[in-house]
């Protein structure tokens, strides 16, 4: 069965500090991994996907198949990064996204 685990419900960091959001997955094939972000009172929006290998808003994520992880990182957190972050997986199913429970990030000045 496919599963996405985000072990941290809440991550509180100071502005300028590095931030890392953990995501582990369970899937027997080659998954496609995504990070979605939801700012306060806004819709879910795609932050990045592993196949594009881009850095968006200073965030990067590397798919580690050996550790079955797709951790999200940013070297210097900004106040505007405060949001809910969801890791999601797509496998063989027809477009189905499997979401993790989400991590609330709070960046304090």
């Amino acid at each position: 069965a496919q599963r996405v685990t985000q072990p941290e419900k809440l991550l509180s960091v100071f502005k300028g500090a590095p931030v890392e959001l953990k995501c582990n997955y369970s899937y027997s094939g080659s998954p496609e991994l995504f990070w979605y972000v939801q700012y306060s009172r806004q819709r879910l929006q795609l932050l990045l996907r592993h196949i594009s290998r881009e850095s968006i808003k200073g965030f990067t994520a590397d798919l580690n198949k050996g550790e079955t992880s797709f951790h999200l990182k940013k070297p210097f957190a900004q106040e505007e990064d405060s949001a809910m972050y969801y890791c999601a997986l797509s496998g063989y199913s027809w477009g189905k996204l499997q979401f993790g429970a989400g991590t609330q990030v709070v960046v304090t000045p």
């Binding site: 795609l46 199913s93 477009g95």
Partner: protein, 116 residues
């Protein structure tokens, strides 16, 4: 920039009543989805829809649920006889492409359904 829209933003209904949640996907998108999020829980997949057919549905999507694309722009989720446990935020999403490797899904703002 085009966006997925959903109406209403909040729906309150009595247990046993039928509700229809409406979505207008991005105009050139071909794949449509419904997800739900019960308060404090994960976002859960309900159903995907392409070419006027359900492509996949989850175990949550039982006989009380149905989806329809009644015209060229709307995509609806009907819950025939609502239960208390159907109270959740319902998100519609659409993508230009789909299939085993999903294209980027664009989400609507959600409809909060409250069943009393």
């Amino acid at each position: 920039e085009p966006e997925v829209t959903q109406t209403p933003s909040h729906q309150v209904t009595q247990m046993g009543q039928e509700v229809i949640l409406r979505c207008v996907p991005i105009s050139n998108h071909l794949y449509f989805y419904w997800y739900r999020q019960i308060l404090g829980q994960k976002v859960e997949f309900l159903v995907s829809f392409y070419n006027n057919e359900i492509s996949e549905k989850s175990e949550i999507f039982d006989d009380q649920f149905s989806v329809e694309r009644p015209d060229g722009s709307n995509f609806t989720l009907k819950i025939r006889s609502t239960k208390l446990e159907d109270s959740a935020m319902y998100f519609c999403a659409s993508s230009a492409a789909g299939g085993p490797r999903t294209d980027t899904q664009y989400f609507g703002p959600g409809t909060r359904l409250t069943v009393l």
